[in-house]
């Protein structure tokens, strides 16, 4: 079951409803992919909630489970970036570091970019601050900014998806 909807995140009420339906069903497992996140529910083995669910409060942490990875597989440190849900030619820009996310160069100033803006590899997208040390994050690709996934001023984690850039055309 795949949902290729364009909503940036699934409200936790919806998640709860999905989990309840899953629990009540005779299905052994369920995989759900939506913009920005992947959800895997299984009635087998130990609980391993996905990264995105945990960060949004862990509402399904007790029931969302991953099957144990195949024996001998590599470390499961796949980035939490949306992949299957991302349209062709869209590139996700992720946080280079944990820190506070700022869309403007200083408080009250205009944001570096707005949705719809054209960007190239050198375009500044945001600042990430770690203990008063600011790092500039650049687009890295040429295209058009189509999505901003994080609110200004919040803490982002290492590798967290922040922007989506459409490189088509």
């Amino acid at each position: 079951m795949t949902d290729k909807g364009k909503s940036p995140a699934l409200p936790s009420d919806d998640l709860q409803a999905i989990v309840e339906q899953f629990n009540a069903s005779h299905w052994r497992s369920l995989e759900l992919e939506f913009h920005g996140s992947r959800l895997f529910l299984s009635k087998d083995s130990g609980a391993l909630p996905t990264w995105d669910n945990r960060s949004s409060g862990g509402a399904v942490a007790t029931v969302a489970t991953l099957p144990p990875p195949p024996l001998g597989a590599a470390v499961t440190n796949a980035p939490a970036a949306p992949r299957a849900g991302i349209a062709e030619g869209h590139v996700v820009v992720k946080a280079s570091s944990l820190g506070t996310f700022y869309r403007s160069p200083k408080p009250g100033a205009d944001p570096f970019t707005q949705i719809g803006d054209s960007v190239d590899a050198d375009t500044e997208l945001c600042l990430i601050e770690v203990m008063k040390l600011f790092t500039t994050l650049r687009a890295g690709v040429k295209g058009r900014l189509v999505q901003i996934l994080v609110d200004d001023g919040v803490m982002v984690e290492h590798d967290q998806p922040l922007f989506v850039i459409d490189t088509n055309g």
Binding site: G46, L48, P49, L71, V75, N77, L98, G99, M131, M155
Partner: protein, 461 residues
């Protein structure tokens, strides 16, 4: 800023593996919320599953995640934490972490930054010990001549060891068992020191032929009060890495035991030590004397053996003291009974020079039974990542006597099944079943010099 103690306490756990899980469980039992900082490699760890929330600090290598002080403190502050537990290893003994926590209004679960700094430096730690009247390894100042060396050695008593004033690494270190040997050693060591360091200045120390590593577990109240939780014997080591630890130290007479504990209490009391700490000593079996080695200003890997014989949860005590919700027990209320032993189970292959063996654990059957405790953060299907320390579990057994504890450890090791990765369990079994260990006739060199050669010969046949 709001008083951090006034609101619901939230703890940032700045560590990984079994100690992270241990701290998280202790915090939850005290109704303290938890946030765990993880690297990318530890997103699915057991500690991550039990934490109230996880925050991905950075990539797998420690220097980009667990060892980055700014990232750790930023994550703690941004997630609304009010206190931080550093565990052991990683940043636990970095005074900068305690300092930054203080600046950011976070309670650091451990000693004050200046204490961490004072005891973290070897020379200043020795000065602290000396000022508190704690015995140091007998030695000399700079030696003027070979005659001066002979005179000093008479005072210390043989054997002695020469050391180069300008350097270390074993160069210029020669053991002398009598005056004749010392004459030769002095000339030879001077030459080596001059060639190696451009300075032939030597000093002399008592050489400890059969050494034991003994240490005392303590807590301080930060105001000159200190209480001990008994001592541990951690003499089973390989390359200064402890492998088996036990409490109490059966080798000591009652008089020496009392002296050792009192010395450790005096030391920490003299510096108004706060929270958990350990004072390590070298015990010279021939001279029947103990000498100060160092202070570890943090909780230690082997703290469970002290918990087992004292019936105190030391992690909960750390958290309670840090929050001000607990007070230090009186010394009389720390009643020590029984004997506990901890064996460190490592993902290392003792038959291949202790090569680390990270990988997927395909079978994990930890020992259970009376007096058996396993502190671990792995289970069947867990991945042991290659980036960190190789310890996967601590097997802790408790008995009414050393004999009973040793028997339980031997039995528990036989029942502890791990597949998918190589472990040191066969070596631990060989140690515990060796007559030398059973008779408690070991030293810090025993594992390397006596047991390992026999173990490796037997295995290769």
């Amino acid at each position: 800023m709001a008083d951090p103690v006034a609101r619901q306490p939230r703890l940032f756990v700045a560590n990984r593996g079994e100690i992270a899980l241990r701290v998280i469980r202790a915090a939850h039992a005290l109704d303290i919320e938890t946030v765990l900082g993880v690297s990318v490699a530890d997103r699915d760890s057991a500690a991550a599953r039990e934490a109230g929330r996880i925050v991905v600090l950075g990539p797998a290598p420690s220097r980009d995640s667990y060892l980055n002080i700014s990232l750790v403190v930023h994550a703690a502050v941004a997630t609304g934490c009010t206190l931080l537990h550093p565990g052991y290893g990683f940043l636990s003994e970095r005074p900068e972490l305690a300092e930054l926590c203080a600046e950011e209004g976070l309670i650091f679960v451990g000693p004050r930054a200046e204490t961490v700094r004072a005891v973290g430096d070897k020379i200043s730690a020795k000065a602290v010990a000396e000022a508190a009247g704690v015995p140091l390894t007998p030695g000399s100042g700079k030696l003027e001549s070979v005659d001066h060396a002979l005179e000093v050695a008479e005072g210390i008593g043989y054997p002695v060891i020469t050391k180069a004033s300008a350097g270390g690494g074993g160069r210029g270190m020669i053991v002398a068992r009598d005056a004749e040997e010392l004459r030769r050693a002095f000339d030879q060591a001077s030459t080596t020191a001059r060639e190696a360091f451009g300075d032939d200045t030597l000093y002399l120390e008592a050489y400890v032929e059969r050494a034991r590593h003994l240490e005392v577990q303590l807590f301080g109240d930060g105001e000159g009060g200190a209480v001990h939780f008994g001592e541990r014997d951690c003499s089973i080591q390989r390359r200064y890495q402890k492998m088996i630890e036990e409490a109490p130290a059966s080798i000591l007479s009652d008089e020496l035991r009392a002296g050792l504990r009192a010395a450790a209490v005096d030391l920490l009391a003299s510096i108004d030590y706060c929270n958990a700490g350990t004072v390590e000593f070298l015990y010279d079996e021939a001279r029947q004397k103990f000498y100060f080695m160092e202070v570890n200003a943090r909780i230690q890997v082997e703290h469970p053996v002290s918990e087992q014989i004292s019936s105190h949860d030391l992690i909960k005590l750390q958290l309670g003291l840090a929050l001000g919700t607990a007070t230090l027990p009186r010394q009389d209320d720390v009643v020590l009974a029984g004997h506990a032993i901890e064996a460190r189970i490592l993902a290392e292959d003792p038959e291949r020079d202790f090569m680390p063996c990270p990988g997927r654990i395909t079978r994990w059957v930890p020992a259970t039974g009376p007096g058996v405790r396993v502190d671990s953060a792995v289970q069947e299907g867990s991945m042991v990542p290659p980036y960190y320390d190789s310890m996967v579990a601590k097997l802790i057994v408790t008995g009414s006597s050393r004999e009973q504890a040793v028997a339980r450890l031997s039995d528990a090791l036989k029942r502890f099944k791990v597949e998918g990765i190589a472990t040191n369990i066969p070596l631990l079994q060989a140690i515990v079943d060796h007559p030398g260990y059973r008779a408690n006739a070991v030293s810090t060199k025993w594992l390397e010099n006596t047991l390992l050669p026999a173990f490796q010969t037997e295995r290769s046949e």
